[in-house]
Amino acid sequence: MSSLRSPEDAFGMNESMKATAVNGVPQSGEGIAGRSLVQLTMVRFREFWREPEAVFWVFVFPVLLTGGLGIAFRNQPAEVLKVGAVEATVSAALSREKRLSVQIMDRSTGETGLSTGRIALLVLPGEEGVVYRYDDTNPEARTARLLVDRALQRAAGAADLVQTSDDIVREPGSRYIDFVVPGLLGMNLMGSGIWGLGFAVVDARRKKLLKRLVASPMRRWEYLLSFLLSRLVLLSFEVAALVGFAVWIFHVPLRGSVGELALLCLVASLMFSALGLLIASRAQTIEAASGLMNFVMLPMWILSGVFFSAERFPESVLPFIRALPLTAVIDTLRANMLQGTPLAGMFWPLAIITAWGLLSFFVALRIFRWR
């Protein structure tokens, strides 16, 4: 049973130890103003750098994605379309058109080829002339129909009545990669703002570390400010990596002021951080927080025009889509990079961004759960 005497065994006290900190005279001089803010911000950096996944998602992933999309959508020489023909005469007439690759096949092979997408169009013998079998909702098939038809008509002796020639435009600025880079930049700003802040706050709350910090003399505004400060530093690297890569490899143009572009990224990042703070203001578990983040971000990935223009959605929902924060951010980035629009020319998207940022921040402060 218990002994009330203290054991002098396993953990004997060492005299010099007793004399130090615990009994020691308080030392001052470590408490210069702002020091706790510096420490809090350093903690943010350390936690970021020591999480390899976070480094990957923030820096490597956007560059890989840009590279992948750039290669997938590179401007190739106009594609050769595959078509099938049942009759040898038709095939011979089509083989003179260099944008077509024609194969002779029987009807059933041809139909299988159509349904599996191996050929875009099948030419069948008709009662008079020929029949084109193809899917008219497929743009490739429609192009094939035009090419096949013209080749057959010419082979039969039709002549061009108007003299035409081609003037091909493949300038930087109007390619898909030029369109998608500002979209990816906006998406990246959103992801790192919301994830970077949200997960760290919810994790600290889950571990009761937030409660412990609040019980100490730490100033709460310094805690929140440390997230913004670290965000701003990481932001500059993140934007430089993505934009630098796009300009260097794909010659994506920067037609607007680079200083204004930096300012736009800064404002966007602050706004998304505020949104992240709002999402993280009550959640007690990482699962709840991820659910909320996906709920907020997923619609914007689809609707806000990252990969294709938001203007493709029906007119009736466009006002709603334009009011989304990511739409506004991407609009300003595209306007700056591709059209060279100055800040003065983007009043509405900037107003939307500012409104989202301020609203999120003040609501988050009101409802934030510190324990």
Partner: protein, 314 residues
């Protein structure tokens, strides 16, 4: 009790707190004088943590007054946070920071206090100075929590279940540290459900159950107050049904009888009379003992005497 001559470091009066329908703290009055170690001893859910978190300024009471170092949370919150040290029940520090970085952060919140190096030495984590929190053992994490509590060189220290979940050796190490802190003249308020911890570390112990203080005094006073000299515990083999507790209690020199999971426990004033009487009684029923031990009463026995229940099952 003697009149309080030293000023009170902590004074709690008429404290009440409910969460919904659950009354967590139901009228607690207690004080701790300067340099004293006061223990709040009770089972899980007794209201210890709620009480201590009200003292720490983390929870607002429904009613009652708390004064720490002559200051109150209502008027002097910033000053109080500088002057108290806190170790919460289940804080997990950031896994990715090292011991030194964690302490540097906490040290930066206080106007004055020991250096980070001295804090590390005080809790004997020198060898783990550069180790990530992730790689620390439970006992080492708890010592880090203690070091964080000391970062502002506090006059008043709150320790909420400082050794819960630790293995016996780690527990002893934490006890040594707390004993050392006591010697440095700090006032310590400690909650625990280990009676051995309370007996060893606390100058006075408040036994808490259902949000109320059942008894308050030095461990010696509390043990003396139940008026029993010894405790006899026994168990037996065989298929005999449970013994009649009232019959046992009526044996010579027996003050009370309890039974739990086949283990019988008698509170006894005169061992030399009660044990022979017990043997005679059991032999009369043909019962063979499998286990018999006697010990001096502990705070555990005080708790049993006050509530009819044990502090915890182990």
């Amino acid at each position: 009790m003697e009149a309080p001559v030293t000023p009170l470091s902590l004074s709690i009066r008429g404290l009440r707190k409910s969460f919904g329908n659950v009354v967590a703290v139901d009228g607690i009055d207690v004080g701790a004088s300067n340099g004293e170690c006061l223990g709040l001893l009770g089972p899980n859910g007794a209201g210890k943590t709620t009480t201590i978190e009200i003292c720490e300024g983390l929870t607002r009471p429904d009613a009652g007054e708390v004064e720490l170092l002559g200051l109150s949370w209502r008027h002097n919150a910033d000053e109080l946070r500088q002057r108290i040290g806190i170790q919460l029940q289940e804080t997990q520090f950031s896994d990715k920071l090292t011991v030194e970085e964690t302490l540097r952060l906490f040290r930066s919140f206080y106007r004055s206090g020991p250096s980070v190096f001295d804090l590390i030495a005080a809790v004997r984590l020198e060898e783990k100075r550069a180790a990530r929190v992730m790689g620390l053992s439970g006992g080492q994490k708890q010592r880090l929590a203690l070091a964080c509590a000391l970062a502002g060189n506090p006059d008043l220290l709150f320790l909420d279940e400082p050794t819960t979940g630790l293995d016996p050796q780690a527990r002893r190490q934490v006890w040594e540290l707390v004993a050392q802190l006591k010697h440095s003249g700090r006032t310590i308020i400690l909650t625990t459900h280990y009676m051995e911890e309370a007996e060893r570390l606390c100058d006075r112990v408040a036994i808490i159950d259902h949000g109320r203080i059942m008894a308050l005094g030095t461990p010696r006073e509390l043990i003396a107050s139940i008026g029993i000299g010894h405790v006899v515990e026994f168990a037996f083999n065989g298929v005999t049904g449970p013994l009649e507790l009232s019959t046992l209690a009526a044996l010579e020199g027996v003050r009370g009888a309890h039974a739990e999971n086949g283990l019988y426990r008698l509170s006894v004033s005169e061992l030399h009379r009660s044990v022979p009487a017990l043997f005679e009684h059991l032999a009369g029923q043909g019962i063979e003992l499998s286990e018999l031990r006697t010990h001096s009463p502990t705070l555990e026995d005080v708790f049993v005497a006050l509530t009819g229940r044990r502090l915890r099952d182990e």
